[in-house]
Symmetry: D2
Subunit: 261 residues, 4 copies
């Protein structure tokens, strides 16, 4: 049974900072946002977690394996090297959506994202080592069937992009509403979802839904582990199985999960 630890990473007072005393060069903001995300990805990734850029001023990380000290060090390091600071809210639940709700609430209860005084909140419980198991995380890695042949090599880039965005928007809503799963576009034609325990039929339903709603064909590899890196890596390998076998849904351990969310 899944037990997802998520951390909401929110830049303090970012909106006002970007226009005070005057608006800042857009490319400098893009650079700052991207490099801050890259640092978060390296920090969390080197502890076997995952980080998603989401909205850049608000980012979501899967932090099973990171304790409170790890979160504190992240805050300290960013404060030492950037002109902005981070607030971190942590939440744990078998449902990723509920975990993120808890994480978000931890920060919201202290103050607004644009509160001139609220800085470097660090709140929420992390999963104790003794409570961690090999089924805490289920990660699904989706990609678009033959994206290069159908889109990238044929349409202009924006129309390819629109197709992939529509596919993403459809999948993200379906998985959130049906299962409390959270889906993130990670570049190219790839989407990574953090899910509760979902069955092969539930993945097939999601894929059918996206094909019907957005006319985009997906396939998916699914992995399970105690941390995001191992679960996600297993999911990537399972996705390669889809590619080689011509299948649509593959689990890292090839077992069909029973419906239980």
């Amino acid at each position: 049974m899944t037990n997802t630890q998520l951390t909401l990473v929110q830049i303090d007072n970012y909106g006002p900072w970007t226009v005070t005393p005057d608006p800042r060069r857009e490319m400098d903001l893009q650079t700052l946002q991207s490099r801050l995300f890259a640092d978060l990805a390296q920090y969390v990734g080197s502890r076997d977690g995952y980080a998603f850029f989401t909205r850049f001023d608000n980012m979501v990380a899967v932090t099973n394996g990171l304790d409170r000290d790890d979160h504190e060090l992240l805050q300290e390091s960013i404060a030492n090297r950037y002109p902005v600071t981070l607030s971190l809210g942590i939440g744990v639940d078998r449902s990723p959506a509920v975990a993120l709700e808890r994480a978000t609430d931890r920060i919201q209860r202290v103050g607004s994202a644009q509160d001139g005084d609220r800085r470097e909140v660090l709140s929420g419980e992390t999963l104790a080592d003794a409570d961690r198991t090999g089924t805490d995380l289920q990660i699904a890695h989706f990609d678009v069937n033959d994206a290069t042949g159908k889109y990238t090599d044929r349409l202009n880039e924006f129309d390819t992009f629109i197709h992939i965005e529509q596919g993403y928007a459809s999948l993200m809503r379906h998985l959130r509403e049906e299962h409390g799963a959270l889906s993130f576009f990670v570049g190219g034609d790839n989407i990574i979802s953090v899910t509760p325990d979902l069955t092969e039929d539930q993945y097939r339903d999601a894929i059918d839904h996206v094909e019907a709603e957005a006319d985009v064909e997906l396939k998916v590899g699914v992995g399970t582990a105690s941390n995001a890196h191992e679960a996600g890596f297993a999911a990537k390998h399972a996705l390669e199985d889809c590619r080689h076998r011509g299948t649509t849904v593959e689990y890292a351990d090839a077992a069909v999960e029973t419906a239980d969310d």
Copy 2:
């Protein structure tokens, strides 16, 4: 009248590279993608252009002001510092969508994005200095009304994110289909569009469309200049005018454009 120069920036053979000889750690891919985009943003931005991360393996840059040598240097510098190389296609047209079509075609005609042999394409004409004018680019900077109050401080981060994604998906389709404008989510609750000459009514229509389709309220600042930085900066300032005056559409020069696309 607009005359948009766009460059499609495509990483050569990226899909295969990410899984050869085996899949690579996801957080390393996220880091590489983000830092490569940040470098593109700095390079293009320091020449008064704009760059958008789009799909990360395919990125779109507004390059009025950058010539062929500038594009060559970008390729050389990335090849010296990353384990991947870039192909660059350049296109110019009064319609941003057509410009991107030309840019994309320049790369596609040479070979597939996953062609093991195609490397470092550099193709397409840049706008000659003598042909540049102060109305070459129209940039519109949208943001969501009171995103912090309505979403960020109240909903969990993913539901806030879903709202903003739906708003983005709706705007991007509408502006592309109606006007050949290209829209890019740039973080927070901000979307930047590269447009042909659009009127105040046309922006109002777009905003009404998004509110009806996605239940997301936008406002917009519009700027015009010979390069992306100046047009975009003027648009940011116009957006501040919206914020202060409580209006929905503001042009940097307050003139109402006549319909002419």
Copy 3:
């Protein structure tokens, strides 16, 4: 008694790579070298270690607290994100110079730094957790007395730089020859040394030696701990004590060490 674990970080085949097929833009090499060092500093630093840029193609890290898996992950992450790879040799000894000798030998025995075939050596024993103690590392943080007043605000930058370089060259030789300590310039007017157990008299002698030989006046803060971050942080605080008290040598715990190297 000290027990220093050092890792030699050597870029594989770097000399030939920088000129094959032709010499590369110098500023791209400087950028790659600096960012690779920055990533090493973040990776090791987040595990409470220290890293010094040294020659950039060869860097020295104090890795008490990092095990073999940590070293492997570092190699993998760099290989995923840079156009070069790293070889890592690890050595442990109460004398930092001997530890580095062991670390260097680990790589040298496998092949030359410019061996076209030698890639990603990972060799050497790390200190087992059970064997670690609170006196494993002694770190000394030196800075130049009133560098700003005497040099930075008065001389042209290169003459200031020459003075500081001469001071560094003198200290580095003295500490290496007398005590097997390794000293690294870390920017500004700061030098950090990794030492065996040295006494207050031994630090005074080193400072007197540098003043006589290079006419540069130093002061020093000394810290001891099981890892580089804690020892170095204590040394920084002790250096602040020197600044406030007007003293020349301060230990984090104010105890005078007995001569025993």
Copy 4:
């Protein structure tokens, strides 16, 4: 005849910032310093200039080809993305040392490096385009003969490092005192010098001096151009000629300069 434009890049109030309110993690400072230098190297390098890390809080750039607006943009971009700001002083002279003196004086006259109020000085004249010539810069690229065979593959890394440091210290002093040339270690076994017009005999004398004083054997390639990149690139190629021909001094254009400094 040379006409060197140098810019001193000084971080404002850095010393105090690193310890206020308390000392900061050393690895975060190393990361910030290295990445700021990398950004400077990219910015200046993409305009065909050179940048040297020097002391990291004070860096030297060869900026022939960069005008006042270029310097202003650099300051603005760093201020938008880092927790520190830069002061820039510019100086021009046929003697690099005098040029740097002028650049340094420009900042010093406004205020101390540790002045709590002095921020973002931008002062000094840049070389007008009309006054630039193909002989404005002479760049010499030195490296150590067979560093890999003699040192890297045989000694422990620190002793190799000491040899190279001694060679650098000797060369830097000699060239500064004899000719007003400025020399910078750039990694590996490489030193780049910015010189006035020096003859082959003057380079041989410098190399003999270093061999006698530090027992380190150097060879050098020399290039001349209107900007640092072209002069330095020509010097690199000339150094490859030394490597292939077994010679000690090679000019990019093989002409022996007459003594005239």
